[in-house]
């Protein structure tokens, strides 16, 4: 009997073409009792292989192909040719193998597995990502429990004598732990080597074993394997030549075929069985243990946890009522029974670290169902008060570790927490979970297209049409899409493209880093799973993703970065602690008014256009409404058709009804409509008699869409349970359909409540401290739904004043000035290096000497001062100095109404930089542009951008004047003219014309991707008004059903999976935003216009219902003319 002991999966990343599950399925088809998986330098695919094998009753043998660099022991980290040596054709003595080589090793015992993990970790941790090699010396003493397979690769190393490296390998692994591996792929030179290998095996008294070096499950996968080889070598199929496989023989062959191939070497076949029997190790027990929390003397984990919880509960529950006591006692008893106290203490410890270091932290997810978590300060939602279901978090039946997610401010603060965990548990005791990046529609299209040698433009177009949006039109076949971009499937190249693209989807591409999952281990994590460096400095990742970790029993704590947490913390800092998040007024009417008006740009979770369309209908009046709002715009309620019933019942248009009277206590709060996962669980518990754990199992089974059998089993159980309780017929069907439709995408109530807290806090800040809120938002971009340009315009509409980027005043980050305006930060200047920006910021120190008349207004440059002749707009009367820009000497522009005017009495010459327009109390950073250039090392292009956006206004320069000046400053004058005395004491008058209003907007977008000046649409308003275009603000006043015309910059494009092909656009003009609905057929005919045009004019029918306005588009026109590139957020 033959056993395949050398197979690699797609987790060898570009060196094999089949998933572990596919290999196992094929092995099961052929009746293999056991099979080994040896991926390159790791056990990346081992959990999936183990899981699939266990499910099919095949013994999963684990191993790896180790990269060894025998010829360069002094530099083991830099393999010279990281290629695919198993395919290298000629290990002839005349052309020895280049180092490094691959040595396949198989795990015999637990000790062997640990050694393998440690060896791989050692290799990976000292090397950049994707590289690394071991030396033979490093293997010495680390190979107990490992079996090495010595193949033809080892013959090439002549300097080690007869047999190449086989003898040294026997020395390292021991004679009993080395097998000579013979493969037969019907290759002439391979057979020559095989004879040599057989002779060497006989000489060294080492047994031979047959393997097939499997790289794919079936011959049909060879093309994909060749494509992966091309990607690996960055070449095309036409140019790959001998890098490609010589034939398709590296597939998993039936045992009979292997028997035929090796009929002259029967001992090589029987050795596979003997070796497979010998390899006892399975991954069932990895020896992983969660770390112990050090408790005070005399305490146990549970006793200490009980005490801590009690203390915390007294603090949280005032009064500490009986319901809370009972719930906490129940939870603690369960925690004790499951021996999870240590886990809660560790999480509590991390939360404490955050608190001590002023890092905002909040537990979310199902942890918020736990009163213990609430008492310990891990979560902020009271599960007792909100009547949340504890079983959603933890249950005895499931026997799983609880999953606690901690939300932290994204950025540096989260990194501090992660580094704290590394420090506390050691670099080899904690690691981030991996994220296996797989080939998706676009990436697969790009790679396959390139390897097939398709023209780059065509590849771009193909990539663009592959999975453009989340929604997939049933008629939107691959063929149709390819035809759209001019690719004929009758052509063999495109036929291959279609097939290979399909095969490549979901194949692992490379290993990324999970957003926050951290695994902590008692002892050495590198004995449990190999660790490696992430691309990000200071991060260590393990080789499995979160699902694999969960399957293998590794416990992770999610330390998730949440942009809004950072915004909240920054905003609170900006208002100097004037807000305490823990004690916000719970029912602030202004906050609810804003939410009811859907004025929620920038507000956490309720800023999407779908949320904004629901807010006026839902009309939130209290906190629980906000919880519902957060949960209702989710695929679960939408797919389950629960949104409209809920909104209608809430508006009184529909009576509240229940599928069965027993559901009333569960669904009363949501008016008889199930909206949360907890309700689903309770429904199963009440109607079908499920226990909490069984109900959670039900949710998981239904959520696991791939297992239809599992879903059917659960459904049968559910029906039986309901029948027992007398619920049959329509009521039963209704309950089952709402449960099944909902389970996949439902939102836990606890999670919604946690998010609602953040949503309320962000809304509160937006209403009461808008400057701080928007500053924090701008400083934490990218995040949220809208681009900074939209945030700035939204802030301006709420009365927040902005001042532009200024080299004398701006810091790297945005800030709130003493007058309450937001000063844009240098971080928004396109192309400005951070080190230069920081240097400009630091330029504030000293340099006051020599500057005269710092308090003088100067009359030119910068923003005019209130009280000046020119600083009150004669058209709109605006006297906001931040909105009135001095264009040129005596010329002003009002950013509020786009009016420009001149005051003839103003001086016409620019004021020299010795009279900058700085307030008395603000010392200038730089005496001149030359000074700035000298002290910051700024480059010419950066200077030009700063000049273009008006960042030298404080030097007394209008934008073009500044440009004229910086062109000279940036040009090296040479030694002769660069001395201090050589410079001109007075800057020359600029002969360049001042920028027009439109030019300024264009320059703003080009230089900062936003403008604090007029919206581009404001500049075109007279023309648009003549064309009958309504402003966004006018839409709410127009009659429902009226045919209207609206125009704006496209700030979002969406095609949600739940919207049956409809596309939603958001247009922005100077007065607000307009929602556009595009029919699928219109989208098909105007696809490129919709996707590419930055400004659109829409003719359509106005829908104005329940305070929600939208325009159903009938015709779309590109609004050309402006050279502005608008950044939009497109959700595909």
């Amino acid at each position: 009997m033959y056993f395949e002991l050398h197979a690699a999966s797609a987790f060898s990343f570009l060196e094999a073409a089949s998933l572990p599950e596919t290999l196992i399925a094929q092995a099961a088809r052929y009746g293999y009792p056991a099979m080994a998986l040896l991926d390159r330098d790791g056990v990346y695919g081992a959990p999936r292989f183990h899981r699939a094998a266990t499910a099919t009753g095949i013994k999963a043998i684990i191993g790896a192909e180790l990269t060894i660099n025998p010829t360069n022991p002094t530099n083991p980290t830099r393999p010279t040719i990281p290629t695919n040596p198993s395919l290298t054709p000629h290990p002839s003595p005349l052309t020895p193998y280049p180092s490094p080589l691959r040595v396949p090793v198989l795990v015999e015992s637990t000790e062997g597995y640990r050694n393998l993990c440690r060896l791989v970790t050692r290799m990976k941790m000292r090397s950049p990502k994707g590289e690394g090699a071991l030396t033979l010396d490093e293997l010495d003493g680390q190979t107990r429990g490992l079996i090495a397979l010595a193949g033809r690769e080892l013959l090439g190393f002549q300097k080690y004598g007869v047999g190449g490296l086989i003898d040294p390998l026997v020395g390292v692994f021991g004679r009993g732990s080395v097998y000579v591996e013979i493969q037969r792929h019907l290759l002439r030179d391979e057979e020559v080597d095989n004879r040599m290998l057989a002779d060497i095996a006989s000489t060294f008294h080492v047994p031979i074993v047959a393997t097939n070096g499997v790289r794919f499950a079936a011959p049909a996968e060879r093309p994909l394997f060749d494509v992966l080889t091309c990607i690996h070598h960055k070449t095309t199929l036409g140019q790959a030549g001998k890098k490609l496989a010589r034939n398709a023989e590296r597939y998993l062959k039936p045992p009979e075929e292997m028997a035929r191939l090796f009929r002259d070497l029967p001992e090589a076949l029987t050795a596979t069985e003997a070796l497979a029997d010998r390899l006892d190790y399975t991954m069932a027990d990895l020896g992983y243990r969660f770390p112990d929390y050090p408790v005070p003397p005399g305490e146990t984990h549970i006793s200490f946890l009980r005490k801590l919880t009690d203390l915390g509960a007294r603090e949280r529950y005032r009064p500490y009522h009986d319901r809370a006591r009972a719930q906490i006692a129940r939870e603690l008893d369960l925690i004790e029974r499951l021996d999870l106290a240590g886990y809660f203490l560790i999480v509590w410890d991390i939360v404490n670290f955050c608190r001590h270091n002023d890092i905002l932290v909040q537990g979310r997810g199902s942890a918020a169902n736990s009163a213990v978590c609430y008492s310990l300060g891990i979560t902020a939602v009271d599960p007792v008060g909100m009547d949340l279901l504890f079983e959603r978090f933890l249950s005895e039946e499931r026997g799983e570790w609880p999953d606690i997610d901690l939300d932290l401010p994204s950025g540096d603060r989260r990194e501090r927490v992660i580094q704290h965990v590394y420090e506390k548990y050691g670099r080899l005791g904690a690691a981030m979970t991996a994220n296996v990046i797989t080939y998706r529609g676009k990436s697969a299209a790009r790679e396959v297209g390139k390897t097939l040698g398709i023209d780059a433009t065509q590849v771009d177009r193909l990539a663009k049409v592959m999975n453009q949006f989340e929604f997939v039109d049933p008629a939107d076949t691959l063929h149709k899409r390819m035809r759209e971009v001019g690719c004929d499937l009758d052509h063999p190249t495109f036929r291959w493209f279609a097939e290979l693209w399909n095969r490549m989807l979901d194949l692992p591409r490379h290993l990324g880093q999970h957003s926050g999952g951290m695994v902590i281990c008692q002892g050495q994590l590198d004995s449990v799973v190999p660790l490696e460096n992430a691309s990000m400095p200071g991060r260590v990742v393990l080789q499995w993703d979160k699902d694999d970790c969960s399957d293998m029993g590794l416990v992770k704590v999610d330390l998730l970065g949440l942009g809004m947490m950072a915004v909240l913390q920054d905003a609170i800092t900006l208002v100097d602690g004037a807000v305490d998040l823990a004690h916000l007024p719970p029912d602030d009417p202004a906050v609810y008014k804003m939410l009811q008006d859907a004025d929620t740009i920038g507000v956490f979770q309720v800023e999407s256009r779908a949320q904004m369309a629901t807010l006026p209908r839902l009309h939130p009046e209290r906190f629980y409404d906000l919880v519902v709002e957060v949960a209702i715009i989710r695929p679960g309620p939408i797919v389950g058709n629960m949104v409209h019933p809920y909104l209608n019942r809430r508006a009184g248009r529909e009576p509240v009804a229940y599928a069965h009277p027993s559901l009333e206590p569960i669904l009363a709060r949501t008016l008889g409509v199930p909206l949360f996962q907890e309700q689903l669980l309770r429904m199963a518990m009440v109607t079908a008699g499920f226990t909490g754990g069984q109900a959670e199992d039900l949710r998981r089974a239904l959520g696991f869409k791939r297992s239809e059998k599992r879903m059917k089993d659960v459904e049968i159980k559910l029906r039986a349970g309901m029948a027992n309780n007398g619920i049959t017929g329509d009521a039963a069907e209704q309950i089952i359909s709402s449960i099944t439709a909902f389970a996949l995408y439902g939102f836990p109530e606890s999670h919604a409540a946690s998010f609602a807290l953040l949503a309320y806090a962000s809304a509160y800040l937006k209403v009461h401290f808008p400057a701080a809120f928007y500053t924090a938002l701008l400083n934490n971009q990218p995040m949220g739904f809208y681009h900074p340009a939209t945030l700035v315009k939204d802030a301006q509409r709420r009365g927040v004043r902005f001042t532009g980027v200024d080299a004398q005043h701006s810091d790297w980050m945005c800030r709130v000035d003493t007058d309450g305006s937001i000063r844009l930060g240098l971080r928004y200047v396109s192309g400005l290096r951070e080190e230069v920006g920081r240097a400009i910021e630091k330029g504030r120190v000293g340099r006051v000497g020599g500057v005269g008349n710092v308090g003088g207004v100067g009359g030119v440059g910068g923003v005019g001062r209130v009280g000046d002749v020119g600083t009150i707009c004669p058209k709109c009367g605006c006297d906001d100095e931040t909105m009135i820009e001095t264009v040129k000497a005596g010329s002003f522009f009002c950013n509020t109404c786009s009016h420009d005017w001149s005051v003839p009495t103003r001086p016409t010459r620019p004021t020299p930089p010795t009279q900058p327009t700085l307030p008395m109390d603000t010392p200038p950073r730089f005496t001149s542009v030359d000074d700035l250039v000298t002290r910051t090392g700024i480059r010419r292009e950066e200077l030009q951008t700063l000049a273009d956006i008006g960042a030298f206004a404080s030097f007394g320069y209008e934008r073009r004047e500044a440009l004229w000046q910086v062109e000279k400053s940036a040009r090296p004058a040479g030694e002769l003219f660069s001395g201090p005395e050589a410079g001109s004491p007075e800057p020359e008058a600029s002969p360049l014309p001042a920028m027009t209003a439109e030019e300024r907007v264009v320059a703003d977008y080009a230089g900062t991707h936003l403008t604090i000046g007029p919206h581009p649409m404001a500049l075109r308003r007279p023309e648009l008004a003549m064309r009958g275009v309504l402003r966004a603000v006018d839409l709410s006043r127009a009659r429902d059903g009226r045919r209207i015309r609206v125009a704006g910059s496209v700030i979002t494009r969406q095609r949600p999976g739940t919207a049956k092909g409809f596309v939603f656009l958001t247009l922005e003009d100077e007065t607000g935003i307009a929602n556009i609905i595009v029919r699928p057929d219109l989208f098909d005919s105007e696809r490129f216009k919709i996707l590419d045009e930055p400004f659109l004019l829409i003719d359509g029918i106005l829908q104005n219902q329940d305070g929600v306005t939208s325009v159903k588009a009938e015709r779309l026109h590109a609004l050309g003319g402006a050279a502005i590139e608008i950044d939009s957020h497109d959700f595909h």
Binding site: P492, L992, P993
Partner: protein, 514 residues
């Protein structure tokens, strides 16, 4: 005074991408004459300019400037000269823009910017140019650049200048300048302080100042000879004499001009029936392996080609033309003689004429697993002969010095065979080829399997015999392959390599082991 003739591109035609650089600006080239044959209207334009003045300079492939000083006494006022130029061009079917100005710079800019005739009085250049948009500078990156450079500069630095020229007008746009007048009005010293000499050059252009003298281009010489025959000739032998008479003066001219022929074109006008309205031509093009100017060789090559492709009727007129290149320089060494390349080239040309040019050359290895694949490379022996060192044994080598490696002699094309199998192994091989009858298999090794190029369209049809054609063109194989190879020792003592095309189940004898 200078006149500029500009031939605008037809509105419908896209710019010639083949002649544009990375930034969409035409590449600099002085060899405008070389393009006469392919740019007929332009050649006409140049010819018109030459008819008016011997001092003509070409810019790119659409613009010609000429010095019209002194034409006044012949034609009249500058306007009259301009009108005459325009009329002449119109008569030739060319709708050109014409500009006359005291500086060639101004003339070029105006010709590009304005249709019809523009005449600028001396001293009014700047004011005439002032309203022109700045983009004229971008469009004229090449023309202005050639105005500002010396003809003796090599091409690379020019290309770099071109890059900076291409970027500069964008810079000026950023400054808010819209017209050449805006640029001209800037203070020169300030402009220099910011953009250096480049900036000053732009400004001089914008002001219409002359930046360098006109550099007249030489007259292009065409190498063609033809002969109208008094009576038609039939057959190659009489044609041989005619060709000799044509090639001798042609080769004399090549010699004088230090040029070598690289492509030979023979055009024979055939005798047609009286009823036929059209003239029938028999045209042959022979690409020469090396530049040459030997009349005998050229004649021989032309005749060899015509032997393979004889004219279908008697010949009325014979014309020969050659595409030329620089004359070839042979470098002799002190100790080694240069190879007689003329002789070799002639030999190769003869072989090429006999076998087809793609059947002559040196075989080279190809980066593929395809069995027997090779490519034909140019036969290019080393310039000098050296005696290879004797293969002395290396005492350090582990490889035995005397290896009696078997040599495989491949058959081109493979011989179709019939193979009898037992238990999947060949036991008898027979063919229909004389001298390769086959026999019983005494010993066999294999199968050795290879497959590849699966992404190429399959040209395999159902008939196994068609495979022979496919396999006979191995160097140019453009279809997938999937075959097993065997080495078989037959009872007659011969050893063959046989192969099995698996897709169509056909067997071949690929070669013989010597």
């Amino acid at each position: 005074m200078f006149a500029c003739l500009y031939l605008p591109r037809p509105a419908s035609s896209a710019p010639d991408r083949g002649k544009t650089g990375a930034r969409g600006i035409p590449h600099a080239t002085h060899a405008a004459h070389a393009t006469y044959a392919t740019h007929e209207p332009y050649a006409t334009l140049v010819q018109i300019a030459r008819d008016f003045s011997p001092r003509v300079e070409t810019h790119g492939d659409r613009t010609v400037t000429l010095d019209i000083s002194g034409l006044g006494s012949l034609i009249g006022e500058p306007r009259s000269i301009g009108e005459e130029l325009r009329r002449t061009a119109a008569d030739a079917g060319l709708g050109v823009h014409v500009a006359v100005a005291a500086s060639s710079t101004a003339a070029i800019l105006l010709a590009h910017a304005r249709a019809g005739l523009t005449v600028v009085a001396r001293g009014d250049e700047a004011s005439a140019l002032a309203p022109l948009p700045l983009r004229v500078l971008t469009q004229l990156g090449f023309g202005l650049w050639t105005l500002d450079s010396r003809p003796d500069q090599n091409l690379e630095p020019k290309a770099q200048n071109l890059e900076s020229t291409a970027q500069s007008p964008e810079q000026l746009t950023r400054w808010g300048l819209r017209t050449l007048g805006d640029l001209a009005a800037l203070p020169s010293s300030e402009l220099s302080a910011r953009l250096g000499q480049t900036g000053l050059r732009w400004q001089r252009w914008a002001r219409g100042e002359e930046v360098r003298p006109l550099v007249p281009a030489g007259v292009a010489e065409s190498f063609e000879e033809s002969l109208d025959l008094e009576w038609p000739i039939d057959g190659l032998e009489p044609l041989s004499f005619v060709l000799a008479r044509l090639f001798e003066p042609l080769c004399d001219r090549l010699e004088r001009g230090d040029r070598g022929a690289v492509v030979l074109r023979v055009t024979l006008t055939l005798v047609t029936s009286a009823r036929s309205a059209t003239v029938e031509l028999h045209e042959r093009v022979v690409e020469l392996p090396a530049p040459m100017r030997d009349a005998r060789v050229l004649r021989t090559l032309a005749l060899l080609d015509l032997e393979s492709n004889p004219p279908p009727a008697a010949i009325d007129r014979v014309a020969v033309a050659v595409d030329v290149t620089e004359g070839r320089v042979l470098q002799f060494g002190l100790f080694a003689r240069a190879l007689p390349t003329d002789t070799l080239a002639t030999l190769l040309a003869r072989l090429g004429a006999l076998m087809g040019s793609d059947h002559v050359g040196a075989p080279s290895l190809v980066d593929t697993h395809r069995p027997g694949a090779f490519a034909m490379a140019k036969f290019d022996p080393p310039r000098t002969f050296t005696i290879p060192p004797s293969p002395l044994p290396n005492p350090q080598s582990r490889i035995p010095h005397h290896t009696s490696a078997a040599v495989l002699r491949r058959f081109r094309s493979p011989i179709p065979a019939r193979v009898v199998l037992e238990q999947g192994r060949p036991v008898r091989v027979t063919t229909d080829r004389r001298g390769c009858a086959g026999g019983r298999v005494e010993r066999s090794e294999g199968p050795w399997r290879s497959s590849g190029d699966w992404w190429l369209p399959s040209s395999i049809v159902d008939r196994p015999e068609s495979i022979v054609d496919k396999r006979s063109t191995l160097p140019h194989a453009t279809s997938p392959w999937n075959c097993d190879e065997w080495e078989v020792a037959l009872n007659d003592g011969t050893t063959y390599r046989i192969s099995h095309a698996r897709d169509v189940d056909a067997w071949f004898v690929d070669g013989m082991v010597d």
